[in-house]
């Protein structure tokens, strides 16, 4: 019994950090509607800076002062980020800010290694809380007890801040209706900056307070951000008390899950999140989101199929790409195949995101399922390549059909989080079900048949399938179904009122998108000759998001360009520099600021402007002629 109680207390102590970081994320989202992916990076920075400060300054004051100063320093960094970067992109399409903050996260990962080195750092114990308390034979670190006491205090302080100060009232008002608060003459700029500063301060404090418990290392950010997303979604976005309760819930699930179900401990948390989202889509303490106002930046230029000239140009580009084996070596061809596969993957997500308005944060699940499908068929069943390639993606289709059914019941950020949860569940299964999937060691020896094994042949195969998938998806965009899907995205009210079953349309789109991703994954398995849980992982899902947003989410096929640019830059940078993440992150941030509509979106805007000015010129000419007559 005493053991379980000790375990319970450990869970509560872990909840403290989680709560701090999650409440910060929640506050920022509530007011600015930004899903701050860099929140984990700020948490990690807080830990690193606190490590340095507490090492430099001795004594109790040095330690506690160091922790608070570290949080303040990182908050200042946060303010700079908000003023220099985020302010420029508040009006970019939804989720674009996510891309920018993801770029920041990449940069921070390399920066901390540059400054603090790649090794784990062990911080000082907290003065006054070095020992442990004996509880019926169980040692409970006294620092844990301090953390357990701290989180209700922070909760209370935040509550007072939001209920009793003018600033807090403004923040709550802005959480409910930003536009109204702006209309009442509140300086929104500074409100956003201060909210961002508070959120980052809380994240950094959460990181700093962890140093006596945990080693500081450069992978802390991704580990915490996923957990924090889960906490915020279970608790309800924008709710502080929700963040508190959910942080405790998630930490206890982790603490006891590992005892009771060691095999599925990772899945447990995501399973709970999925159940909460399905039963109470806006979280335990959240409120149902009011109908969103029209997204700023939403394009008013309707899509149209390619004109004849553009069709020839695309065909020309494809032929040009097909001539690569004539002059490129084997390495370049392998890179080319990989890029073609990523084009398939990005196009599949793009279809769901831009046409369906559904941003999946876990699209790698269907890519990876396609890859595992091929691995099972080729390795276990020994089927020939052509059959495996055709049947492998069926696993992606099935996964998309099951998860998609639940996911399309939600929308917006909640849809994104549920898809993330599903992807994590699939990843955990692949990771932990060693007897079937090989776990971390993956499945090796998935080699293509002889006809496709030369780099040139495999490149042509990948290129051909990529072109086919992109073309088919484009046809679907302009098909009656594509219009029904866009109608559901544009106005759920109107589409229901013209007899469209929005959920079923979205579900179908999800299945189409998942199948296309599975096709990419199937090729990927043959390209690499193996399958690992990585092909289902979060970072691959994020890569897909980046490619889509980079290409331009408001375009029909922008993801193709996004995938080529991103993947080529990525592969090239990794081969050129040790600081590839820093450069790539900086590149993404620059792209976001320079091209808030994505590369293709930007090109289209220039093209349209030129065309309309030509129209005006010709109109002017006609009117002159008329006057002359």
């Amino acid at each position: 019994m005493a053991f379980y109680f000790a375990q319970f207390l450990t869970g509560l102590a872990s909840a403290a950090s989680l709560f701090l970081v999650a409440s910060g994320l929640s506050i920022i989202f509530g007011v600015t509607r930004i899903v701050n992916f860099a929140h984990g990076a700020f948490y990690m920075l807080g830990a690193y800076v606190a490590f340095t400060l507490t090492e430099r300054f001795s004594g109790a004051l040095g330690f506690w002062g160091g922790i608070v100063v570290a949080a303040l320093v990182v908050a200042v960094v946060g303010v700079l980020v908000e003023m220099v970067l985020l302010r420029r992109i508040y009006h970019a399409p939804e989720l674009f800010q996510l891309l920018a903050t993801f770029g920041l996260t990449l940069m921070v990962q390399d920066i901390v290694v540059l400054i603090w080195g790649p090794d784990d750092l062990l911080g000082r114990r907290a003065p006054g809380f070095r020992g442990a308390v004996d509880f019926f034979g169980q040692n409970i670190p006294s620092y844990d007890l301090f953390l357990i006491a701290l989180s209700p205090v922070v909760l209370g302080v935040l509550w007072l801040l939001f209920q009793r100060t003018r600033w807090g009232v403004l923040v709550r008002a802005a959480t409910q209706d930003r536009d109204m608060v702006a209309a009442l003459g509140v300086n929104q700029k500074w409100l956003f900056t201060s909210v961002f500063a508070l959120g980052v301060f809380l994240a950094a404090l959460g990181g700093a307070l962890q140093i006596p418990r945990d080693a500081v290392h450069h992978a802390l950010d991704l580990r915490i951000i996923v957990e924090v997303f889960v906490v915020v979604v279970i608790g309800g976005l924008g709710s502080i008390i929700g963040a508190f309760v959910a942080a405790v819930l998630v930490s206890e699930l982790n603490a006891f899950g590992i005892l009771i179900f060691p095999k599925i401990s990772i899945i447990l948390v995501f399973l709970v999140m999925a159940v909460v989202l399905i039963v109470r889509p806006w979280g335990l303490f959240g409120k149902p989101e009011a109908a969103a106002r029209r997204t700023p930046g939403l394009t008013v230029t309707p899509w149209r199929p390619l004109a004849a000239g553009e069709r020839w140009a695309s065909l020309g580009a494809l032929i040009l790409a097909a001539m690569l084996p004539l002059f490129a070596g084997n390495y370049a061809l392998t890179v080319g195949s990989e890029i073609a596969i990523y084009v398939i993957f990005a196009a599949s997500l793009h279809f769901l995101m831009s046409v369906g308005g559904l941003a999946s944060f876990g699209h790698a699940a269907y890519f990876g399922l396609g890859a595992y499908g091929v691995a099972f068929l080729a390795k276990a069943a020994g089927l020939p390549m052509i059959v495996s390639l055709l049947l492998g993606p069926v696993l992606g289709l099935l996964g998309a059909a099951v998860f998609g059914f639940f996911a399309v019941q939600l929308s917006g950020v909640y849809f994104a989080m549920l898809t993330l949860a599903f992807a994590q569940i699939v990843w955990s299964i692949a990771f932990q079900w060693v007897s079937v999937t090989g776990g971390d060691n993956g499945i090796l020896g998935v080699w293509p048949d002889k006809w496709a094994s030369s780099p040139a042949n495999f490149y042509w195969l990948s290129l051909g399938i990529a072109a086919l998938v992109v073309a088919v998806l484009r046809v679907i965009v302009f098909s009656p179904f594509g219009f029904a899907l866009r109608a559901t995205r544009d106005s759920p009210l109107r589409s229901e009122a013209v007899g469209i079953n929005g959920k079923r349309v979205q579900w179908t789109a999800f299945v189409i998108s998942g199948t296309a991703a599975g096709i990419g994954g199937a090729l990927f398995a043959y390209l690499k000759g193996s399958v690992f849980p990585d092909s289902l992982g979060i970072s691959l899902s994020v890569d897909a998001l980046v490619m889509v947003l980079l290409g331009g989410v408001e375009t029909v096929s922008g993801a193709v360009i996004g995938a080529i640019v991103f993947k080529a830059a990525n592969i090239w940078l990794v081969s050129q520099t040790d600081l590839s993440k820093l450069v790539l992150g900086g590149f993404i941030v620059l792209m976001v600021v320079a091209f808030p509509k994505g590369i293709v979106g930007r090109l289209e805007a220039i093209w349209n402007r030129r065309r309309s000015s030509e129209d005006k010129k010709s109109a002017l000419a006609t009117s002159r002629v008329e006057v002359a007559e």
Partner: protein
């Protein structure tokens, strides 16, 4: 009149929220080709009534018979399939499509082609969409992005969308809200003309009494959830209970009416 079939029959419709009776035992009928106005002060229960008719809200009790079918508990899209067109108080259209495509989506749905993955929407029912747009005077705007339209034009586009399923009944929630006075008259004249030509029944809520008295064949007056008057514009205008609610407006219209009669 008795030869004309009943499109919509509402019997003892009730809905309450907590202790508030939003709609109390409301009954009425609507016949083909008839234009029926549902009026009442703010909070009278017009919107609740309307939402129950088109399936967005489920009544606590009562019956709604639409074209011979009981529609209580059916989804809006199912009611649309029965032949009910709908316009909203704040227009709901598809802003990223062209004007023509907006109508084509409705036609695609009417033609049960929603899950057709391979056809070209551009060619789908293009002529039919053009005819509907011409009907509401929007033919010249067919290729324009819907997001660029002025509000009055959006209202007309919405009417074209609502007519796409060749409805027998149009439900219009404050069709002229937010429009300039001249546009209001034009839109309602247009609606009335189409309704008479195609023998469509129209039920609309409205705050503008000019519009109501000029176009409605019959008027229902709701107050605090209950139907307090029903009849021709003249009957309703003369009803002392209605006057008590609409005192200011009633006098104005009475005066204007006399002026008009004098001239």
């Amino acid at each position: 009149m008795s030869m004309v079939p009943t499109l919509l029959s509402v019997q003892n419709l009730s809905k309450s929220y907590g202790g508030v009776h939003a709609v109390r035992s409301v009954s009425f009928e609507l016949r083909a080709g008839e234009i029926l106005a549902l009026i009442g002060p703010n909070g009278a229960g017009k919107s609740t009534c309307f939402d129950m008719l088109n399936g967005q809200n489920i009544p606590d009790s009562g019956r709604i018979t639409l074209l011979g079918e009981d529609t209580v508990g059916r989804k809006p899209r199912a009611i649309w399939r029965l032949g009910v067109g709908r316009t909203f108080q704040i227009t709901a259209t598809f802003p990223t499509m062209t004007v023509r495509e907006n109508v084509q989506v409705a036609l695609v749905s009417y033609g049960r082609q929603l899950f057709n993955l391979w056809g070209s929407t551009a060619q789908f029912a293009r002529n039919e969409a053009g005819r509907l747009l011409d009907l509401v005077g929007m033919g010249a705007y067919a290729g324009r992005p819907c997001g660029e339209l002025a509000y009055g034009d959006l209202k007309r586009l919405e009417l074209a969308i609502a007519l796409a399923n060749q409805p027998k009944l149009l439900l219009m929630d404050e069709p002229t809200a937010g429009m300039a006075p001249r546009e209001r008259i034009e839109l309602m004249r247009l609606t009335a003309r189409i309704a008479r030509e195609k023998s469509i029944g129209v039920l609309f809520t409205e705050h503008d009494m000019d519009v109501v008295f000029e176009h409605a064949d019959r008027i229902l007056v709701l107050n605090r959830g209950s139907l307090i008057a029903e009849g021709s514009p003249e009957e309703v205008r003369g009803n002392p209970q209605v006057r008590a609610i609409y005192l200011g407006e009633g006098l104005v219209y009475d005066a204007r009416h006399r002026e008009g009669a004098g001239a």
